[in-house]
Point group: C2
Chain length 350, copies 2
């Protein structure tokens, strides 16, 4: 007998750790998490044909027999990887889909770069069934040859996210000598995990938005009604898919959206509660100030059409120090708790 | 209160499904899985400097403010993504590391392409703490620019794994018309999931073996002693790392290794129990016949040095129909059960 339910339960019940309340996770060692099911699938994409290229023979492993690689033929491209977790004690009325930002993967929502549980674990422990995907051409979704994807992918230096994600004070704030880096005063980004964070960065194209959208559309058709939680580059994807399929989306949580949905079609979101969350240092960063303004105008247009939009500018709520990567900052669980509490006010939790 | 331990436990205890026994998983809906902890990290890699390239301004999102992308600078490359799960009822004496094969990622071990639990779930439910990684340059490990990785990556057609992984009868067996595909008679590969399987395929380089090895070395240093379970291209990585760090490795499970370790250094494995598992149709596939022979010679050399090697040729044990992707075949849990039972005979389970 390898799964002894009684002894696990005795341990669970005997455990002296406090139980969670909504919006707040225990800082102590959490009790075991009962998972009903977890796994993964790929969705979407298309098959394309390539013709007229020479055949190659390639030794794929040392001492291995050579394999014939004929580049001509049909290729599966633009699919999307989705990993999902269902808690035994499911309390969200619908699942929660997590869509990461540019140059990153679903790892954004997992363990923080300094080793704490991420938003994926936070929401799962708060009773949400979670689908965490890697956008098309990122991570476990794979990517296609230059015959399919046009243009060059973008690779980020170790300095780039530091200067662009409001961890450092902006362009020029990075220095290869850690003691000379200009971190924003009061920053909550866990700098001891910064090197780990740069390991999470993956190449990205700037020509694949439509393919990314297509896969998200298929995912929503497959697993929703749902809540979308999306970050940064995910802004356009989350808002656009909700505008296209408003009946499938029960709430939108836009974490520092770097872009918005279809302009002029804001009324399509009037029946969907929207929460936008922005961190600190936005006023002193001209690029982020513009993106905050764009998001605000989009939110105002939804409200003007009769919608329901909340914008949490964290510093105005007494929470300072958050970078663009607030799901990794030292108060990450406080913020996921605020999101969870907001969702509860929308009658989305049992 | 969102994590009600008593009610979960009442449900667990009341559940009428049978408990598991070693080597056999229930075909019925399994009870919830109690997970002590799960998450992910990246490990290894190095920082490289690129210089002398022009600066670009790129609009990363529509309507978004343009971002300056300076390709010069320092890049984090060759890191490896690792996801880990710890069962509450841990019964493996050491963790189990799963290393996938070429052109694939850790998804190999997750849900099968036709939607059944994969070996990751099987071993976790059997009480093993599991670390499932994406090799360097695959999946969530990310990949580096042509300035770093030499040569072109290999992309696989939808036909290629069908013909090369002993699902179909070999070269020429694929046909775009499913009714004209020549599947091996008696094949256990779930053909209704074949299209999903092709979605799991990712590009791979043939010049990155040393970088892949380096990351595996670091992983073993971080989390072992352990058991290594590796597949196909993983053969050389699993055997070589074990030869380099024999004190860290308590058992090796080579699932159809396409390559072996350092020749002439087989004696370094004499204190590590080795299990190799091979499927069906090998005798009728010249390329696989050679790889089976290479693995057999390597195993004989370990035995001759005083080691302990078991080779399971499944057809000789009455199990026919297995492809190269036996962790996806319809009897996948039967085979993971045989591996689990073999590990138990090596005193690696509590």
């Amino acid at each position: 007998m390898i799964f002894d339910k009684k002894s696990i339960c005795a341990a669970l019940i005997a455990a002296s750790v406090p139980l969670f309340s909504t919006g707040e996770l225990s800082a102590q060692e959490p009790p075991p998490l009962a998972i009903k099911d977890f796994g993964s699938f790929h969705i979407g994409g298309r098959v394309v044909e390539i013709a007229g290229k020479p055949v190659k023979e390639v030794a794929l492993t040392p001492h291995g027999a050579p394999a014939v690689i004929d580049p001509n033929g049909r290729y599966q491209v633009e699919q999307m990887y989705v990993q999902h977790f269902t808690p035994a004690d499911e309390r969200g009325r619908v699942p929660l889909l997590m869509w990461h930002g540019g140059g990153l993967t679903g790892v954004t929502w997992e363990t923080t770069p300094d080793g704490r549980p991420g938003w994926l674990q936070d929401f799962l422990r708060r009773g949400w069934k979670v689908y965490n995907s890697d956008a098309v051409e990122r991570g476990r979704s794979g990517w296609a040859s230059p015959d399919i994807f046009k243009g060059d992918p973008v690779f980020l230096t170790v300095a780039n996210p530091f200067e662009r994600f409001r961890i450092g004070e902006g362009p020029g704030a990075w220095n290869d000598d850690p003691s000379k880096r200009r971190v924003h005063a009061g920053s909550l980004f866990p700098m001891k995990g910064y090197e780990n964070f740069t390991r999470q960065v993956v190449p990205r194209w700037t020509t694949t938005d439509e393919a990314i959208l297509n896969a998200y559309r298929e995912l929503v058709d497959k697993v929703c009604p749902c809540v979308l939680v999306f970050h940064s580059q995910g802004g356009q994807f989350g808002f656009k898919v909700a505008q296209e399929k408003p009946d499938k989306i029960k709430a939108l949580v836009a974490v520092e959206p770097a872009s918005v949905g279809y302009l002029g079609q804001e009324a399509k979101l009037k029946n969907i509660p929207v929460l936008m969350v922005f961190g600190d240092y936005i006023e002193v960063d001209p690029r982020w100030k513009r993106m905050r303004e764009t998001a605000g105008r989009f939110g105002d247009a939804i409200s003007a059409a009769g919608g329901n939009v909340d914008i949490y500018d964290l510093p105005k709520r007494g929470i300072s120090g958050n970078s663009h990567m607030m799901m990794m900052d030292s108060n990450s669980s406080q913020i996921s708790g605020m999101v969870d509490a907001w969702l509860a006010t929308k009658q989305l939790k049992r």
